[in-house]
Amino acid sequence: MSSDRLKGLILPALAVLAFEIWLRAFPIASDALAPPSAAVMALAQGLADGSVLLATRDTLLGAIIGLGIGSSIGLLLGVLTGLLPPLDRLLEVSIESIRPIPSVALLPIGLMVFGFGYALEFSIVAKTCLFATLILTRSAVRGVEPRLMEVARALRLSPFARVTKIVLPAALPQIFVAFRLAAGAALIVAVTVEITINPQGLGHAMMTAQQALRPDVMLGYLLWIGIVGFLWNAALLLAQRHLFGRAAVSEAMR
Amino acid sequence: MTDSAMNSAGRQSLYEFRDVGLTLGGKLILNGIEITVRKGEILCIVGASGCGKTTLLRLAGGLYRPSQGSVLFDGAPMTMPRQDVAIIFQDYGRALLPWRTATGNVALALEAAKVPAAERKGRIEASLAKVGLADHADKYPTEMSGGMQQRLQIARCLAQEPQALLMDEPFGALDAMTRQSLQDETLALHADSGATIIFVTHDLEEAIYLGDRVIGLLPHPGRVGIEIDVHLPRPRSQLATREEPEFLRLRRELFDFIEKSEGHR
């Protein structure tokens, strides 16, 4: 298996190497592109002088707080609509007419209301996370094994106890999946907002480097965004496995 | 065992397994298999679970090549699957194309054989009619019961107009009633087409009921442990045949063999 994993590395390694050789051999395109080695150097320097870390902090802050706001509202609405079909049917048209609006389309509105800064980023990230969490939480709650609900009724649990003792624990693994997907989207949207309008964070740093004709710095940031994105997702996956590993196994045994 | 292509009954042989051995993943699965299959006969293969029945059938189908010895079909080595050898898998649910209707699934065999489009329609209808699916030509596999799905797989194989039908526990997953009617349909199709059938099964009674001969395999590695001729009159009948003393005697003989072979482990 680990040899398969090594094989997966061959292709990217070759691509980087080819890129390096190509740009070293023909340095004409150097205004737009820089060899990978130069990008790595620029990234190392940015990390050393703290500028990269500062930008990372801004981006992560935007993603995390936006995620916090959006996914809590989404979770609440998802549980409610999942548990109460009448409410779900009542809200359906409203939800389905707001959901398809691309979140970046709300950027200019956010800009008018909040101006540049954190609040703009929070609001756009939150919109994305809200709907992602809402939809998946709702289906997680609806998917709770009907037999479990029968058990709850047979035990004469109160409605509140039914939710806290049966529904939420049963739907929790799925709800966490919803959270993980929303979190993935949060980082993507934060970077996108910065690239598009908001003058802060990693996205904006990348745009600035491009405008300053520093392709090495720009590609260094691209590399760094890749690393941050990878770690962000890996951490979430790890948390999911750690928290729900046993639940997932018993799920499969059923 | 004779080297000639003729056997004692005077009928030509279709398959000859000559000292066949097969190693998979470093494990010896089959060893020293000597089997002759006569043209037009029904040969049933029984044996404990995991003794290599499916593997033997896959060799006959050309899906595996022997690591030792040779599998001859019509006198020539079987090196790859052939158009005139059809395989019927046990898990019919997975062996059908879920995105094609019954007609489409049978058509696949004809497309593979490069049958001209003009000829296909008639042959598809004929194949479906033979297995009693004429009225279900436009149904998707997911709209069919298990028995119908297995009939559909048989129809696809019949469309190949095969010399040999290789059936791997084809009725194992079906209920008793459906199984009995499919057994009788298989006998009718056999009488009708004259194809040679190799039939793998777990069910000893099924093997005797269908077969001209029954071969029992011993496990670890798989090898031939018993070979019996079934001298029961044809056409056979679910009630009468199963009550014949000869039937009961053969059942006893096979039962003892299987019990002994399981003790072998």
Partner: protein, 255 residues
Amino acid sequence: MTPLAQISWRIASFAFAASLVVAWQLVANAQLISPIFLPGPDRAWAALVNGFTDRGLGGKLVGTLRHMTFGWLAASIAAIALGSLIGSSRRARIYVAPSLEFLRPLPVSAIIPVAIALYGLSEGMAIFVIAFGTLWPMLLATIQGYAGVEPRLLEVARALNLSRLETVTKISLPSAMPDILAGMRVSLTVALILSVVCEIVAGLDGLGQWILISARMFRSPDLFAGVILLGAVGYLAAAIIAEVERRLLAWRKTH
């Protein structure tokens, strides 16, 4: 649920949405929020109609649709062709899939500065970004679809002596279709987002540019008209591809 109950719920649901619009109108009329930020639905609607009749909003709509569909279609074709090549070989999958898995969660918009460096603030840049950004998820979906083909069906193909090409067109591709279409559906949403972003960043003719300029000039009715239109595009795009999926995958539902 009876059909009557279903229809009643639909009506109730629309009524609820309508009451939200009315509330929006009342809030706007009462000027609880400055009309500079929040136009009433009446003014937004008027701006929408007016935009189409004499302000060239239709052209902007076409621009956005052009960017999104060109990039997405190019990527779809490339992804299906390339994905079929890679996906039908187990060995190729081992070499390629990990890289794609790695690329998948990355913020694709980060490619925009690179694309600007390469292509300038041009329409070509936008189409490159959209094609690039939607290619990877679709390629991965296609490869996964091929990896998930029922092994028994591949054996049936062997038993029938199907050629490699026939095996792909008759067995693997139809079997991978649900995954491919799912990838295309997700990517279409991404394509719309990237179109808007590129139009904003590069000032390209499209709805992204329209809403940005409206915001900069504090013409909030125009801004809301653009946002509503983008919502409609998102809705219709999803509806169309869902219908295509429903038709092509009709065999999956029948049970």
